[in-house]
């Protein structure tokens, strides 16, 4: 059954993630004010998480969910409110939950994540409310850490007589009772079934012999509880039973169940699960493997091209038809591969409200955060690379952009800042926009800082435009944070963000209006695997240039070339464009007739080429580590006829 049940792991993870997200979302909603619907949702999510984790035998996760559920039950019934402290605690719990789900997804059983701190904090909260419901045998607070010594008796002898609470009892038989000793013996018998009688006056022997005046004083050690003892001693013609704890020490009514023998059991179980064969319905595949498959598909395409050529040469019609069918399969395969790799942005968006909340709370700011377009899809590899830069930008927006509530009020703005993250597909690109209505970027401050850090000279700073000043933000080592907090990283600045985005073949743009706010725009290709290139020929050699960087293709008239300093330039549509000869790469050519105008950010230049062969979608294969990173070349691709050609990387040229 165990291996068969592994098939449910994927389903469990998927549903648990959904419930976890729902939990966090509604906890955040609850922070804005009382919301019965959010409370119901939270309760249900936790309830379901608990049920499912119990079913799968993920004990640690179940324990945490159980404690959360106990707390939320009080909230739901209206007898408690979610204070800020409780909200924070529950969010901390949800973080642990997420780690547990990750662990389970990776094949674990949540036991590697310890939730003691959270569980005890929740229990403390319950205890303070004085309404702790019975929650099974959770270990008592402060859980006994020391293990039983190895030489301790191994059996499950549950009754350690020494530790039992003791009681003194006074049992009085009705004076009119005829056979007082019989009553007393019955009571003694009943009590002996529940514990050990330590001392008794008169003694049992005396009672047995009939020497009994009607009052029995005894001390008993028992773990049955006061009520049980009292009931057992009572009976018809027993006038009264008095009982109190001996030595005045309060007996533990709810005996903390002997340290549950869970730990060793779990430890025993662990090694077993690792080597069990599993039947898995959902797979987690390394993106590099998908890339590999993608490359193989591309190889198929190339070989299909060759086959086609051969078929044409030998004029074999049947083969032509067969190749046509192969072609269809291959392109379908290619499309499928693309689809598999695409995932909605929500994958990373969903965690952001929490980030905004945490940063805002830490900074004492008030922020309304809105997201749009989370359903927009991106290639998985782009998504992976986007996560950190996006996090950084969002933190920046709250940390640096949005002003403190008082400051905002003085500036005539609402106390609550506004941050909006949106995404949409724009032809071949995905555009992600982050807008805030904060203070905007203080250009003067940026310049001053850049000069201080020696990034630019004072003169350059004085004369540079706003855009150029903003560019300074992206220089390595630049950070305007007045103090280093744990929110806006240490030394990691926008330069890292920019580099990350560029490594995804994307661009980043910033607009800012002092006092009104800033807007960051990320332009990303939806996928990195496939690139549209223009194939050009220089000196008999072919090159690929990504279409996304090309703005224009023009005729080249040699006579229009001007020499400026060391370089050459042409005048095209009233613009002076630098000529970028690729002589070093492919050798000199005399027949250059065409100019390919490429643009990087706001800079344009043109590459003279002999002729343009056409346009093609290709997979760009990275250069091997043997060659290493080459500026200006992002990789190579293989064309239909088998020729390997370099693909230019305009961003780094």
């Amino acid at each position: 059954m165990a291996s068969e049940f592994e098939a449910y792991r994927g389903l469990f993870v998927a549903e648990s993630r959904e419930n976890h997200e729902n939990l966090v979302k509604n906890l955040l909603l609850l922070e804005k004010g009382p919301d019965q619907n959010a409370i119901d949702e939270i309760f249900r999510s936790v309830h379901t998480l608990k049920g499912a984790s119990a079913s799968m035998g993920y004990a640690e996760m179940e324990r945490l969910c159980h404690a959360m559920e106990d707390v939320f039950q009080l909230v739901r019934s209206g007898s408690a409110e979610v204070s800020e402290d409780l909200g924070n605690l529950l969010l901390a719990c949800s973080d642990v939950l997420e780690e547990m789900i990750d662990d389970i997804e990776g094949g674990g059983d949540s036991s590697s994540k310890n939730a003691d701190d959270q569980v005890f904090a929740l229990k403390d909260w319950l205890a303070q409310r004085g309404k702790a419901p019975e929650t099974g045998k959770t270990p008592a607070k402060g859980k006994t850490k020391e293990k039983t010594p190895p030489d301790a008796p191994a059996g499950e002898k549950e009754i350690p007589v020494g530790g039992m609470p003791e009681y003194t009892m006074v049992i009085t038989v009705s004076p009119e009772c005829a056979m007082k000793d019989v009553r007393a013996m019955l009571a003694i018998g009943n009590l002996e079934a529940l514990g050990t009688i330590r001392s008794m006056t008169p003694s049992k022997e005396q009672v047995d012999e009939g020497n009994f005046e009607g009052v029995l004083n005894l001390t008993i050690a028992s773990d049955a509880g006061e009520d049980a003892l009292k009931t057992a001693a009572q009976g018809t013609e027993i006038a009264s039973v008095e009982i109190q704890p001996a030595h005045g020490e309060a007996p533990e009514e709810k005996s903390p169940a002997a340290p549950a023998p869970r730990k060793p059991a779990d430890a025993d179980r662990k090694p077993g699960t690792a080597d069990k064969s599993r039947e898995i319905k959902n797979l987690r595949v390394d993106i590099s493997q998908l890339d590999h498959i993608m490359n193989l598909v591309e190889d198929l395409v190339i070989n299909r091209g060759r086959l086609k050529q051969i078929a044409e040469q030998h004029k074999i019609k049947e083969m032509d038809e067969a190749i046509g069918m192969v072609e269809r399969s291959v392109s379908e395969l290619q499309n499928l591969m693309m689809l598999i790799r695409m995932i909605p942005l929500n994958h990373i968006f969903n965690r952001l409200p929490r980030v905004v909340r945490d940063v805002a709370q830490y900074d004492g700011k008030e922020v309304e955060f809105v997201m749009e377009g989370g359903e927009t899809e991106l290639d998985r590899s782009v998504m992976d690379g986007l996560n950190d830069p996006l996090l950084h930008l969002i933190r920046n927006a709250v940390n640096h952009g949005i002003e403190a509530p008082d400051v905002r009020e003085k500036a005539g703005k609402p106390r609550k800042g506004f941050v909006k993250l949106s995404a949409h597909r724009d032809r071949d690109n995905v555009i992600i926009e982050l807008i805030d209505d904060g203070a905007g970027i203080n250009v003067e401050k940026v310049k001053r800082k850049a000069v201080e850090k020696g990034l630019v000279t004072q003169e350059a700073a004085d004369t540079c435009s706003i855009d150029q000043a903003i560019d300074l933000l992206f220089q390595p080592g630049f950070s305007t944070a007045d103090k280093i907090t744990d929110i806006s990283g240490r030394g990691v600045g926008l330069d890292v963000v920019k580099r990350s985005i560029e490594s995804l073949k994307g661009t980043i743009r910033v607009e800012t209006t002092p006092g009104k706010g800033s807007r960051f725009e990320l332009l990303l290709p939806p996928t990195m695997a496939i690139v549209d290139i223009m194939i050009v020929r220089i000196n008999g050699r072919r090159l690929g240039i990504p279409i996304s960087s090309i703005v224009e293709v023009a005729n080249y008239q040699r006579e229009g070339t001007h020499t400026i300093g060391k370089g050459e330039a042409v005048l095209l549509r009233d613009e002076v464009l630098q000529l970028l000869w690729l002589t070093e790469m492919v050798g000199a050519s005399d027949v250059c007739e065409i100019l390919i105008v490429v643009q990087y950010q706001k800079r344009k230049c043109c590459i003279p080429v002999d002729l343009v062969e056409g346009k093609q979608e290709v997979v760009v294969k990275p250069l091997s580590s043997f060659i290493g990173n080459t500026r200006g070349v992002s990789g190579v691709t293989i064309l239909g006829d088998g020729e390997v050609i370099p693909v230019l990387d305009v961003n780094t040229m």
Partner: protein, 343 residues
């Protein structure tokens, strides 16, 4: 073919339940629903014989479904699938009073507990053998403090057997009955309410201080041990009184059958008969031994009728068994033994 509708708001839980039930060739899961409203629609559409019903659900919860169900004919048999919480325990008791036919706990630790699937399948099939729920009308008068007692110990797989056994008890039985069924805290009230419909005389969960009376069935409250204390009636006859003991769990369970059996043997001596039904673990062996030592009669159920035979085997290992009987013969034997006991 038993047609089953599975209702739960968790797709995970629905899948697990559906897959378990689908393993049995005589059960067909004809549909699933994620909330009460959907469930009511599907009942009309699919006419299932049995519905497994979750309690906590959006839009319409399980209890509301039961209220609506009163207006529907034919009504499917309802198996509540409850979570292990004090709140769900209360809700389960209410569900039983609202007409749910049976309940069980959500599958727990399925990878390591093989019997869960069998229990769920067994429950569903068993439901089909139960008469439709009708308001209990029991006019059987209590026989007063009982001078003899029938003790039943039961654990995993036991409740359906108890249905059969309790229903077959003769309404004239001159003995008290104390049933100790392993169950999580909170759920024995629901179980007692359910048995109350089936048994020939009233069934209630034990309270501390209850007197063991003839023609009354007491079900040990979960979370405490049921210990039987001796008490002398006004007429001088010896009888038993329920004492709830907070002693730590024994064999990992509370109530432990051993606690009840041993204390009963002490009080009732040879005027007690014990029965061990299906159950996991070692509980009940020592108790049966004590009963036999005291001169009482120890019966265990035949292995073929038990889902799990651990408890009965613990009695066999202690040579504490007088008779091994098939389930449908036990009630008869109880009556015979009880009637033979000297008054």
């Amino acid at each position: 073919m038993v047609k089953v509708l599975t209702v739960d708001d968790s797709v995970f839980m629905r899948t697990v339940i559906r897959d378990i039930l689908s393993k049995d060739p005589s059960i067909e899961v004809v549909g699933t629903a994620s909330n009460g409203l959907e469930a009511l629609e599907k009942i009309q559409e699919l006419k299932p014989d049995v519905m497994t019903l979750d309690i906590e659900m959006p839009k319409m919860n399980g209890l509301e479904v039961l209220k609506e169900l009163k207006k529907i004919r034919p009504r499917p048999k309802v198996l509540m699938v409850s979570s292990l919480t004090s709140k769900d325990a209360e809700a389960t008791t209410e569900a039983i009073s609202l007409g749910a036919d049976d309940f069980m706990l959500k599958p727990k630790d399925i990878p390591h507990v093989r019997e869960i699937g069998d229990e769920l399948i067994g429950k569903v099939k068993h439901l089909m053998t139960l008469p439709s729920f009708e308001a209990p009308h029991k006019s059987v008068e209590s026989g007063g403090a009982a001078d003899r007692v029938v003790l039943i110990g039961s654990s995993a797989g036991g409740p359906p057997m108890l249905d059969t056994l309790l229903a077959a008890l003769p309404p004239t039985l001159p003995a008290g009955v104390v049933v100790t069924q392993h169950m999580p805290t909170g759920f024995t009230a629901a179980l007692a309410a359910r048995f109350n419909r089936i048994a020939p005389f009233p069934v209630k969960e034990t309270d501390n201080g209850d007197i063991v009376e003839a023609r009354r069935i007491l079900l040990s409250k979960a979370g405490v041990h049921t210990v039987i204390s001796g008490v002398i009636g006004p007429g001088g006859g010896k009888s038993g009184r329920i004492v709830h003991s907070n002693a730590p769990p024994m064999h990992g369970v509370r109530p432990a059958v051993d606690k009840t059996f041993e204390s009963a043997a002490h009080v009732y001596g040879k005027r007690c008969v014990s029965v061990i039904l299906s159950g996991m673990g070692n509980d009940a062996g020592e108790g049966a031994h004590a009963i036999r030592d005291a001169g009482g009669v120890s019966i265990i159920c035949d292995e073929k009728d038990c889902l799990v035979y651990g408890m009965a085997r613990s009695a066999i290992n202690k040579e504490a068994v007088d008779k091994v009987l098939p389930l449908n013969k036990i009630a008869q034997e109880i009556e015979r033994v009880v009637l033979q006991m000297e008054g």
